[in-house]
């Protein structure tokens, strides 16, 4: 069987090798690699498409190995592995320890804050931040609940997706 993968790799030397190594080691056959360094995401990472072939057991092992290496898998056979969840918070964003806010959101397994944008306001307690979180699929509800609870604790107005 075949897996078509889309991975999201940082644009630094050695990343592709890091991904291909377990595939070769575990006996998966690499059918195609599409790697265009000039096509970048907003965050400056490079999406790489790889097609691998092998029996189910081998492919599952490869997926496990990629995950244990914290390699960011976006898509498997056209199905999104990660969901993007956007939220906007209004309040004393900086005073309420932004670093801690991000850390608390990252605490949930399978979730990471992938992008953060901050706009200060001239009015006190009115700065705003937009966060894009990436979560394993199926976690969205839990993430939204987590954000809401965090907002309630820190006095933020939470604007979640519908």
């Amino acid at each position: 069987m075949r897996f078509n993968l889309v991975l999201d790799l940082p644009d630094v030397p050695g990343q592709l090798l890091e991904v291909l190594e377990p595939m070769g080691r575990l006996g998966a056959n690499i059918v195609a690699v599409i790697h265009q360094r000039d096509v970048k995401t907003e965050r400056g990472t490079v999406p790489v498409q790889i097609t691998i072939e092998g029996d189910k057991e081998t492919l599952d092992k490869v997926m496990g190995a990629l995950e244990s290496k914290d390699i960011h898998i976006i898509e498997v056979d056209g199905v999104l592995r990660k969901e993007q969840i956007t939220t906007v918070l209004i309040g004393d964003i900086v005073e309420e320890d932004l670093q801690d806010t991000v850390a608390q959101l990252n605490q949930l397994k399978g979730v990471r804050v992938a992008d953060l944008d901050l706009k200060m306001s001239d009015k006190e307690g009115n700065s705003a931040t937009k966060m894009v979180m990436e979560a394993n699929s199926g976690l969205k509800k839990e993430v939204l609940k987590n954000v809401k609870e965090l907002g309630a604790k820190k006095g933020f107005l939470v604007i979640n997706e519908v």
Binding site: T86, I90, D117, K119, S121, V132, L157, I159, E161, V162
Partner: protein, 337 residues
């Protein structure tokens, strides 16, 4: 069909106007001849068992400001409940001002009419949001029709639409923009980059927001509507106090700018679902059905068979709201005929 209209503000006048406008149409299409036999406002009433003239009612209200000044048939100072006792009628149109503390006097009017075996049509959110179940039970007990399409989303069809057109589907949840004033403010803020305070002021000058905008901007109006939908469409026995409400007064132009960077807009969304009963500012995708501008209302019903179904329409306006009341009246007439 003999009709009593209680309350002669924008909606009440709209009802008189559409009846006058559609007389031939109603006669031809449904063999329906609606006769307004009594109208009340805070000044008293106009009563004529033979039927009042719609145009004269409207002119009297515009020129004199009081319905009790209606020539020959005006009755100053008479109480609405007394009118319901004394006048022979078939259907009550309850359109007095909305009160969200105790739902009065509309609640008493509706119950009285039902107990007297009369059908009731209303646009009044107060009594529905506070005591939906009592009113619904009362209607069933007295075997009368009780319709309130105009109470949610004005002219946007949703309640009858869910019950009749989507009769074969189970409706799992409802999401919607149910308040035109806040949608206008948020749309303007997104388009102009203006502040909340400035935009609210502009909306007030244009007559879109009220002098006291509290119920709109703090989400109370939308919360009333979500309660009505939760009860009538999802069969959830909830009231206004069960809704988690957050309005739009804390929304800043900065937050809207950040959302836009991600291709999103901030809208005040009401949600009734097994997970939540809430009104809060939410992010919606630009280009999605929720990205409506101006004072429009929109609602998406999530169903088991038909997937998502979305309706859009004018959420306010005298004639628009009256159109929903007229449709309710026609449906009652068809059933009774």
């Amino acid at each position: 069909m003999r009709i009593v209209i209680l309350g002669f503000g924008a909606v009440g006048q709209g009802v008189a106007h559409v009846i006058s406008l559609k007389k031939d149409y109603l006669q031809r299409k449904y063999d329906l001849n609606p006769q307004i036999v009594a109208v009340t406002d805070s000044s008293g009433a106009a009563i004529n068992p033979e039927g009042l003239d719609e145009e004269l009612l409207l002119n009297t209200k515009t020129e004199k400001g009081k319905i009790s000044s209606y020539p020959d048939y005006g009755v100053p100072g008479v109480d609405s409940l007394k009118v319901l006792d004394e006048v022979e009628y078939d259907c009550l149109v309850e359109v007095t001002p909305t009160d969200i503390d105790d739902g009065e006097p509309a609640r008493s009017h509706i119950i009285k009419a039902m107990e007297n075996g009369k059908d009731v049509v209303t646009s009044n959110k107060g009594p529905l949001a506070l005591s939906f179940k009592d009113l619904d039970d009362c209607a069933k007990l007295n075997n009368v029709e009780f319709k309130f399409e105009a109470s949610v989303g004005g002219a946007m069809p949703i309640i009858n639409f869910a019950h009749e057109t989507l009769a074969g589907c189970s409706i799992e949840s409802i999401y919607g923009i149910l308040n035109g004033t806040t949608n206008y403010i948020l749309s303007r803020m997104a388009n102009e980059g203006s502040s909340y305070e400035q935009t609210l002021k502009e909306a007030q000058e244009m007559g879109i927001a009220e002098t006291n905008p509290y119920q709109d901007v703090e989400g109370i109006d939308a919360a009333c509507k979500i309660v009505i939908l939760a009860n009538s469409v999802l069969n959830l026995p909830v009231t206004l106090k069960d809704v988690e409400v957050e309005g739009i007064s804390r929304i800043t132009s900065e937050s809207i700018a950040l959302a836009k960077k991600e291709g999103m807009l901030i809208k005040l969304i009401g949600e009734a679902s097994p997970d939540a009963l809430e009104v809060s500012p939410r992010l919606v995708r630009q280009g999605s059905p929720f990205a409506v501008e101006g004072t429009l209302n929109v609602a998406t019903l999530k169903t088991d068979l038909a997937d998502d179904v979305t309706v859009v329409g004018k959420g306010a306006g005298s004639v628009e709201t009256a159109s929903a009341i007229l449709s309710d009246m026609v449906n009652i007439w068809k059933k009774r005929k």
